[in-house]
């Protein structure tokens, strides 16, 4: 077989170029830490990794929603705890006021105290997070409770009955607060009306009426605690979902890594292999091309 210089040189150049391009690939794999950076380096891996990344992105957004929701939910929870405490105060006042030993002036003072508690309840339940009133339902640009002497118990309700929600998963929305409407709606009628009646009974010095109102206060307290525990459930659920996202995120990120990241062990051994081939090509080339009849003529 005739082998010309051109064949030798052509083969040499081809092998060297191939080695160099393989070496360049391994080099960028190693230095960037990624095997698949653009689609052409592995179309299937690229697509899969991007789709998983979209899922991660979506779930991270749900996590951000949950974080915001939890902050609001916990604020609402604190306000509800405060409300329960205040209602218990009222119950204490009624018990004392219903006692026969109290006289009209004591009851008048007690009435003032109840009025003060009502004011602080209005203040507490007008709690806002950013621009959002927590107990206003979705009508949250307006203060839910306004003491204007017009509404039941003198307090007008601006809340609607749809609680504010955050989305925590595909198609899953959780209430992050409870509405003012639910809060007011006790088994014994409107919360502020109950308080208003108590205040009125105290001012009227009506001990009999007062003792009949203990049950109403109990109903109110029960209503608030029921709602508080419902909110608590949602908060727990948000916490749980958040943690779940954390753990699936780890799994998904490792999936992505497996798809597109460099396998260092493999890349290094590959580099060694190409290096050896490269060196031998160079060595054999310089020997081969020294061989010429010209040297002997």
């Amino acid at each position: 077989m005739r082998i010309t210089q051109k064949i030798l040189f052509g083969n040499f150049m081809r092998d060297i170029n191939r080695n160099r391009s393989e070496l360049a690939t391994v080099q960028s794999d190693l230095s960037s830490g990624k095997r698949v950076r653009i689609p052409s380096q592995g179309p299937t891996e690229f697509e899969r990794s991007r789709i998983i990344e979209e899922n991660i992105r979506k779930e991270e957004q749900y996590q951000r929603n949950i974080t915001g929701g939890l902050r609001q939910g916990r604020m609402a929870q604190e306000a509800l705890d405060e409300t329960t405490d205040r209602l218990i105060d009222i119950k204490r006042i009624i018990t004392e006021g219903a006692n026969g030993s109290a006289d009209a002036s004591v009851r008048e003072n007690m009435a003032e105290e109840v009025a003060g508690i009502r004011d602080s309840l209005v203040y507490t339940l007008n709690q806002s997070y950013g621009d959002r009133y927590l107990f206003a339902g979705t009508n949250s640009a307006e203060e839910p409770f306004v003491y204007d002497g017009v509404g039941p118990g003198g307090v007008t309700n601006n809340s609607n009955d749809t609680p504010p929600q955050v989305s925590v998963a595909d198609g899953v929305n959780l209430d992050i607060s409870i509405t003012g409407t639910e809060l007011r709606d006790t088994d014994s009628g409107d919360l502020f009306e109950v308080i208003g009646n108590i205040e009125q009974a105290l001012r009227d010095n009506d001990a009999d009426a007062l003792s009949g109102m203990i049950d109403s206060v109990d109903d109110s307290i029960e209503n608030v605690t029921t709602l508080t525990s419902r909110l608590g459930n949602n908060i727990n659920r948000m916490d749980y979902v958040f943690e779940q996202y954390e753990s699936t995120k780890i799994a998904q990120k490792s999936d992505v890594s497996e798809l597109v990241d460099t396998d260092y062990a493999e890349a290094f051994s590959e580099m060694q292999r190409i290096q050896v081939a490269f060196d031998s090509a160079m060595a054999v080339h310089s020997t081969m091309f020294g061989n010429s009849l010209l040297d002997y003529l």
Binding site: R2, Q5, R37, G171
Partner: protein
Amino acid sequence: MKTLFEISKSGLRSAERSLSVTSNNIINADTPGYTRQRVDKESVGMRMTGFHAGLGVNITSITRMRNEMTDVVLNEKRQDMGFLQEQSNVFEQLETSMASDAGGDLDMRIGRVFDLFSELSSDPQDMSVRNSLLTEADQLTSKLGDITRNVDRTSDLVQESASSTIENINQILSDLDTLNSAITKGESSGKPDLASLDLQVKKLEELSGMVDFESQVTEKGSLELRIGGVLVLDEDKASSMRGEIDDVNKTFNVRLDSGKLIEPSGGKLGADLEMYESKIPGIKERLDEVASTLVNEFNTIHSQGFGLEDGTSRNFFDPSLTDASNIKVSDTIRANVGHIAASSIDGEAGNGNIAGQLSDLRNEAIIGGRKMVDYSVDLISTPGRNLSEIRSSLEVRDSEISMLTAQQEREAGVNVDEELSMMIQYQNAYQGAARVMSAAQQMYDTLIGLTR
């Protein structure tokens, strides 16, 4: 006796001629298209009474050592190679304009807009969320615009490349025409024009990278070429072609000066035409589909909702601009992010139902039977997917070509060592012939000496 001089003279001439052929081989060892030449000789003799006498050597011809079949196969592979190479160049450009390793690609931009609608549904009154939403939506629309502009630019470059390839093909065809007349002239005079034949090989090699053709050699030795079945070169003339471009409808016709249309399907030109007429418009179409789907789906839901400011329903994207090149968030929303509709009920500031529905769109198969983000991942991977397919065929082609080239080189290539050894051989032959002449001379001298 006298024949001795004739014999040695023919030996000297043959050695000299052979030496010049070998020298020419050595000098042209790395000239592209050069074919090694060999001197064909035969011994001359005549019948004398009773015996046969040799009368020296005669050079019958100088032959090109070339396998024409290999050339034909090789050129077919080169047409394929030129096609794949050009496609891979264009897809590489397209990939660069659509996908990057830095993130921030179309899929992420779309995902971020959905993210912010999800955030808005949870916190509809937060102005900073609304502002970020506008920023992300702007980034998405400008990303679509950027990609479209880059794809358009690639399309323009491909069109220019096709036009300049046509120029080159015309040039080569006219060169081949000139060579044809030199070759046929040589052929008819019985002295083949070897240099022109080598040049023809080189020109055909160049041409095969550019366009697909079939070649045929006539009895007179002239070359005939057909592109897409249409004759473009024969003994008499070479046709020239020109491109007829309709940049609006993305058509590129190649017409001969005779008025005939030809349809190149291989080589660089074939690749450029396919990219220009179908692949690039295909990608643009899908980009526009993304844009129009975004506009329609978002507007349909958005216009059922209400912003923070008033009870007016609005579109999110400008409904009159539905192409990837011009998609834009509507001006009223750009002027006041409070107009972004999060609520399903007028006046409920804390209602995020519409924003929620918009963010749920990310889970719905609304485009080509797929989710928005999945579809765009598929879209931005398209050039890369094609590229990776082409690259593996390129490797196969490349190794085929290098095998065939080696095959042809074995036949037609110059082995300098071989030529050098032949050089010595011819030198020796020359010396031998000279010695014969000198011996004959001495014999005559002796004879003439007798008469003195």
